[in-house]
């Protein structure tokens, strides 16, 4: 790196460079340590017995980490069954999977039309979608809540699927549009020359070619709906048979705020799926998040 080092023999300059890098490496290491510490504390505590958690800090386990009697799965068993986190986990899946798949299907058709069909109003519709992307969803809550109450959609899965679909559509159309519009014109036109109509061009050509964009959005939308609290609180509520993991966990914080053995295990259950997605599909995850960062 430095010019002065080149005067020295090769070996000592390599060592010197390594030594110079120590503060840099130490500071990065320190930051990583700092960033991981809170989560690590939660994870470790979730496997400790109730009495141990409240009588000593979680970091004390490092004094004797192999003393196996201090570890327990009891917290998980109890939070999954008697505290309803198991049912909430199922409910979260039940909310998130359709709330990811339905908007993708609807958005893909719309994105194709906006990209490859000529019709009056096309530009206006797209401008509207760009504008709607940043509208805070708070703007929809009160009117939708009233309409849902009238229609009996409050506290139903159908209601929240549709809500997540509506709120997710602007971003979904925008993202899929930028990918679909970027496909080479020759491919689309040659399909038309071969006699394929718009529908078969779309389903046989455009959808397979846009799979990476679809995957990125799917991951973003899935995590967004899984981690969402506000929409679930407003449209689904906290009844045990419909509560999702986020609403259930926030209820537990309210009712059992000092029962750390329950809270730590419960919190970790809400994090398992996002962390799995994060580690297994990091590339799509990052791409989806970056693309989704414009959402309102």
């Amino acid at each position: 790196m430095t010019q002065a080092a080149s005067a020295h023999p090769a070996r000592s300059s390599a060592l010197q460079r390594w030594m110079q890098g120590i503060p840099l490496r130490a500071s990065i290491l320190f930051l990583c340590f700092l960033w991981t510490l809170p989560t690590a504390g939660l994870l470790i505590s979730s496997f400790r017995e109730r009495s141990a958690i409240i009588s000593s800090g979680w970091w004390t386990v490092f004094a004797h980490p192999f003393e196996l009697t201090q570890w327990t799965l009891e917290n998980y068993r109890s939070v999954l069954t008697s505290d309803g986190m198991g049912r909430a986990f199922l409910n979260s899946l039940l909310v998130s999977i359709p709330a990811t798949v339905i908007p993708i299907t609807i958005a893909a058709f719309a994105a194709y039309a906006l990209a490859w069909m000529q019709f009056p109003g096309r530009q206006w519709i797209f401008a509207g979608i760009v504008a709607l992307m940043v509208v805070p969803l708070q703007m929809s809550l009160i009117p939708m809540l009233r309409i849902y109450t009238q229609l009996g959609l409050n506290g139903t899965f159908l209601g929240i699927w549709l809500a997540h679909t509506g709120f997710g559509l602007p971003l979904a159309i925008y993202l899929l549009h930028s990918s679909i519009a970027g496909l080479p014109r020759e491919i689309i036109e040659s399909a038309a020359v071969d006699g394929a109509g718009h529908f078969s061009t779309f389903s046989r050509l455009v959808v397979p070619l846009s799979l990476p964009a679809i995957a990125s959005f799917a991951i973003f939308q899935f995590l967004w709906t899984w981690n969402d609290l506000l929409v679930a609180l407003v449209f689904l509520g906290t009844r045990p048979d419909v509560a999702v993991v986020t609403t259930r966990l926030s209820e537990l914080v309210g009712s059992r705020g000092q029962d750390w053995h329950i809270l730590t295990a419960g919190a970790f259950i809400t994090m398992v799926i996002p962390l799995l997605v994060f580690f297994s599909m990091q590339r799509y995850f990052v791409r989806g998040l970056l693309a989704g960062s414009v959402k309102g």
């Binding site: 840099l24 990065i28 930051l31 990583c32 991981t36 809170p38 939660l42 505590s45 009588s55 800090g57 359709p98 299907t105 609807i106 058709f109 719309a110 194709y112 039309a113 000529q118 401008a127 509207g128 709607l132 940043v134 509208v135 805070p136 708070q138 703007m139 929809s140 009160i142 009117p143 939708m144 139903t156 899965f157 159908l158 699927w161 549709l162 809500a163 679909t165 509506g166 109509g197 779309f202 995590l223 981690n227 969402d228 609290l229 506000l230 407003v234 048979d241 986020t246 966990l249 926030s250 914080v253 750390w260 919190a267 809400t270 996002p274 962390l275 970056l290 960062s293 414009v294 309102g296």
Partner: protein, 364 residues
């Protein structure tokens, strides 16, 4: 695909009236299925796997069939008309949902914001007057401003510094993963993680919260981080910084890597030290990305709700606008004030909306 079986089908099925009738009957069947399934899917007591199956069948296959049949029907029309109508079949369902869930409610919220608590009587600007003069609201505005300044300022600059630093070590991907990881966690989950960090036990008892344990071992008295004003607002802000720095780092890292190598080498030959290089070469080069990232964080922080709701529910002087909006809606049942607060959030993002529209038009 279109094998012998289709060709062998009786000519009756392919006669002109049948070809129009088929999609119509299909559409009727689809809508009947929609109608039946909405009844079924509204029932939360149905077994979870059945609900999921029906939802996926209707939501994917049903929607797909709807498009297919409507498209099929339109294809029977005279060609000119078919091509004129077809685009609206493709965008129609999306437009319908956007209208129902975003456009119409936005207009209604605007209207409600001038009505009273139960949306019955016109009250003029009263709700806005409340929002800008009430003492608790002023605290909420002050806190939102603090959140905006601190979260945006610190997570963007820290993210940039980390991006520049990790660029120089070989284990960069691992380091970035660890700092980016909190992005995967929900705000509620992050809330519990940090409630544990901030946990408080009376003096004399062993501190189980990391922060108080460090503080006490340094000789201090244990602090209720979430109850003590104005410390608690900063404690909440720290959570958001922890969550967002990774996001800033990842985006800025891509920008930092795009800084031309020759530029850095030239500066080094000119004798600039690393800090000068950071401020005079790297920072100007990535300034546009910094602005984009900052805007994104601003939009997110403006609507911060979950963290405050879970940690303090806005008590002890930690209120923010979005949490107050939720309380007005559910706890106080004052739809007028709730709507006015939503409108204030909307007005705050309008500059971003205009900027997005401009850059989109330029890209056209």
């Amino acid at each position: 695909m279109q094998g012998a079986s289709t060709a062998e089908e009786s000519s009756l099925l392919n006669s002109q009236p049948a070809r129009i009738l088929r999609p119509i009957l299909g559409l009727i069947a689809i809508f009947t299925a929609f109608g039946w399934s909405t009844g079924f899917m509204r029932d939360p007591s149905a077994p979870a796997w059945q609900l999921l199956l029906v939802a996926l069948a209707i939501g994917v296959l049903g929607v797909w069939m709807l498009f297919f049949l409507a498209n099929d029907l339109v294809s029977r029309f005279p060609r000119v008309w078919a091509e004129r109508i077809r685009p609206y079949i493709f965008v129609g369902p999306a437009l319908l949902l956007l209208f129902a869930y975003l456009i119409l409610p936005t207009l209604q919220t605007l209207y409600f914001s001038f009505l009273d608590a139960r949306s019955q009587r016109w009250v003029g600007w009263q709700n806005y007057q409340f929002a800008f003069t009430d003492r608790t609201m002023l605290i909420a505005f002050r806190n939102n401003l603090l959140w905006l300044l601190l979260v945006t300022g610190i997570s963007v600059s820290l993210g940039l510094v980390i991006a520049v630093l990790v660029d120089r070590v070989r284990w960069e991907p691992l380091a970035k993963s660890l700092i980016f990881l909190p992005m995967a966690i929900s705000f509620v989950g992050a809330g519990v993680i940090w409630r544990f960090v901030y946990a408080f036990q009376p003096p004399g008892r062993p501190q189980i919260g990391l922060l108080n344990a460090i503080w006490v071992s340094l000789g201090g008295n244990p602090i209720g981080w979430l109850q003590t004003q104005p410390l608690n607002t900063f404690a909440l802000i720290l959570i958001m910084i922890w969550l967002q720095t990774g996001f800033c780092m990842v985006i800025l890292s891509a920008a930092v890597k795009a800084v031309p190598h020759e530029l850095l080498e030239a500066a080094r030959i000119d004798g600039a030290n690393e800090i000068e290089i950071f401020f005079q070469v790297i920072l100007p080069y990535v300034s546009k990305t910094v602005m984009t990232v900052a805007t994104t964080v601003v939009i997110l922080v403006l609507k911060v709700f979950d963290i405050v709701y879970v940690m303090t529910s806005g008590q002890f002087g930690t209120e923010v606008i979005a949490n107050r909006m939720y309380s007005e809606m559910f706890r106080f049942r004052h739809f007028g004030r709730g709507s006015a607060l939503a409108v204030i959030l909307l007005i705050a993002v309008i500059p971003v909306m205009i900027a997005n529209l401009r850059s989109w038009r330029r890209a056209q």
